[in-house]
């Protein structure tokens, strides 16, 4: 009990820091056209590879410097955040819905439904996820919706496994039995008794999944398979930075920091929420 109290006290600042960064990044993405100091697509060969503001040779208005085509890095990062957040929310929510539904069905009804769904999960787990994502996007064609579909199609198993296990243990509990004796229908019991108990894990997983979606999107745009090459994406900027790493390190460093902060925040935010809402931990 002591330990739980200590860790909960330690969690709160984590929750605030993570939530704070996500909020700033999200607001910047939403109001990108108002905030971004430059046009993210404007190329100017006179301004190529400008360093960030504290170094010699920096130009005012180009705070984090420019890439090899003279595009403003900060503006590209802000606009890249739009795609990152759209993918994060859409893909994670879809994966969550598919996975939760299948997991509930498998865990609660058991029998052949469970056997089939578990078998499909086994097959899915035998794919290297990154390769699977690249393959799907290649097949579906590049574009925002392809990226979202690919992530949802691959990562639903994460939700399915957790919820299946939880629903299974809940289905054996006495209170589910008594609810059944009291005459409630199966679906009703499932939603009323099982869902609230799995909610904390699902929320934590959802937040974690958003971070994963951001990474997968970055990886896809890193190998030039995400959306059209003109639109700024974090992965695209990283790919550019990896090439010019010896001439302009900042083109790699700033998107990398942005990505790390965002991914860390999503996972810590999820953990924090789980600790706050989990009835057992509380």
């Amino acid at each position: 009990m002591d330990e739980a109290r200590i860790s909960r006290r330690g969690l709160s600042p984590r929750l605030w820091l993570a939530g704070g960064w996500l909020l700033i990044a999200l607001l910047a993405a939403i109001f990108a056209p108002l905030i971004a100091p430059q046009d993210p697509l404007a190329q100017d060969l006179m301004l190529e590879r400008l360093p960030p503001f504290w170094l010699d040779g920096a130009e005012p208005g180009y705070w984090l410097g420019t890439d090899s085509l003279g595009r403003d890095l900060l503006s590209r990062l802000i606009f890249g955040g739009r795609i990152a957040f759209i993918v994060a929310f859409a893909a994670a929510t879809s994966a969550c819905l598919i996975g939760s539904a299948l997991g509930l069905i498998a865990g609660y009804f058991g029998g052949w439904a469970d056997r089939i769904i578990s078998r499909i999960v086994d097959v899915w787990m035998a794919f290297p996820p990154v390769l699977f994502a690249i393959l799907l996007v290649a097949v579906l064609g590049t574009g925002l919706s392809s990226v979202i579909i690919a992530i949802a199609v691959i990562d639903w198993t994460r939700f399915c496994r957790v919820i299946r296990a939880e629903a299974m243990s809940q289905a054996r509990m006495d209170y589910v039995e008594s609810a059944r004796i009291a005459g409630y229908g199966r679906i009703g019991i499932m939603l009323r008794e099982v869902l609230p108990n799995v909610l904390p894990s699902v929320v934590a997983l959802l937040s974690l999944e958003m971070g994963i979606a951001v990474i997968v999107e970055a990886i896809l745009s890193f190998v030039n398979l995400s959306i059209s090459t003109d639109d700024p994406t974090w992965g695209g900027i990283i790919a550019e930075g990896r090439l010019s790493i010896h001439q302009a390190w900042w083109v790699l460093v700033f998107p990398l920091i942005t990505l790390i902060l965002t991914v860390l925040s999503f996972s810590q935010f999820g953990e924090g929420l789980k600790a706050r809402f989990d009835p057992v931990l509380r």
């Binding site: 035998a126 794919f127 290297p128 990154v130 390769l131 690249i134 097949v139 990896r242 790493i245 990398l256």
Partner: protein
């Protein structure tokens, strides 16, 4: 196990046949006649029905015929076997690095349980775990490729070196031939991608192993060992580690498959000439037979690893062995 592999084959096949891009059209110069197209389609078996194509392809694979790569115009199995050793060596080195780092952190944490050292290990492993291998790779490129350039961040081996190897297992062969100069060069190329792959797994091992170490450390036979006069480190190494390792082992097996999955992008990041790097090229070139072959080899690898973990579990647990 076979059902899983069969399922993988079906999924790969279905996914690829939905592909809107026509690989034949991409292979031919613009203005090729319909006749040429039809001939090529027949050559690659693309003119038959989907189900027929699937069973022809499956039957061929059971005979070791994985088809011909469209972009490289070579036997797929040969290409895959040519690249697989590089990936296996990278994954193995990464696994060893992960176990070494994770176990060291776990033992240190368990030894100093209840102190600031343990709290520090908890925070560090939590943060390490949240950052995926792709980002670790980039961080390592910046730190050890640019800031302090002590390791190579591109390729598998220095291109100017003369390689006397007959197999593709360069690392193993260089050690067998006692050419440690080559071993060192290979390690210098391999270490950064391996560490990038290893860090998240090391964090998981550190967390889980520390937890089970702490549980075992309070058991009676451990107390007895302390009374016998063994030091805390001796106690952990001799009495505790083996029993505490069992729960970790199962998880490491699953995580190792994730690590191998990670080689795809990490190899790309470090221009390491392995299977994953070739897979991305194959996807970009819409090289269907090559993609199929590579994905199936990865799936086979995953299934085999899980089998190996089950067997190791039985081997380490005397109760299962005799029961």
């Amino acid at each position: 196990m076979f059902v899983t592999l069969f399922g993988v084959a079906i999924v790969v096949f279905v996914v690829i046949r939905v592909a809107p891009g026509d690989p034949i059209a991409m292979m031919l110069p613009p203005g090729a006649s319909d006749d040429d197209i039809a001939r090529l389609r027949a050559l690659y078996g693309l003119d038959k029905s989907i189900v027929q194509q699937f069973f022809i392809w499956l039957g061929g694979m059971l005979h070791g015929d994985f088809g011909t790569s469209i972009s490289l115009r070579q036997d797929v199995l040969g290409l895959v076997f040519n690249r697989l050793p590089a990936t296996l060596e990278l994954a193995t080195v990464a696994l060893l690095v992960a176990i070494a780092m994770g176990a060291a952190a776990a033992i240190l944490g368990a030894r100093s349980r209840g102190t600031a050292v343990e709290a520090g290990i908890d925070i560090a492993s939590g943060a390490t775990l949240s950052i995926p291998d792709f980002l670790w790779g980039l961080v390592l490129i910046l730190l050890f490729g640019v800031l302090v350039p002590v390791f190579d961040i591109s390729g598998r081996v220095s291109p100017q070196l003369d390689l006397p190897f007959v197999t593709q297992f360069y690392l193993a062969e260089s050690m067998l031939r006692l050419r440690f100069d080559l071993t060192w060069d290979l390690i210098k190329h391999m270490l950064m991608p391996a560490v990038a792959l290893a860090l998240p797994l090391a964090a998981i091992i550190a967390q889980l192993l520390k937890q089970s170490l702490k549980e075992v450390l309070d058991l009676d036979y451990v107390v007895l060992a302390r009374v016998k006069g063994f030091s805390e480190t001796q106690v952990i190494l001799r009495e505790v580690l083996k029993n505490a390792a069992l729960p970790t082992l199962t998880l490491v097996g699953v995580q190792f498959t994730f690590l191998i999955g990670g080689t795809v992008i990490v190899e790309r990041l470090f221009s390491y000439e392995g299977l994953g790097n070739m897979a991305i090229d194959a996807v970009i070139n819409r090289d269907l037979p090559l993609i199929q072959g590579i994905v199936l080899v990865f799936a086979l690898l995953f299934v085999l690893i899980n089998l190996a973990v089950d067997m190791m579990y039985a081997l380490l647990n005397p109760r299962l062995r005799h029961g």
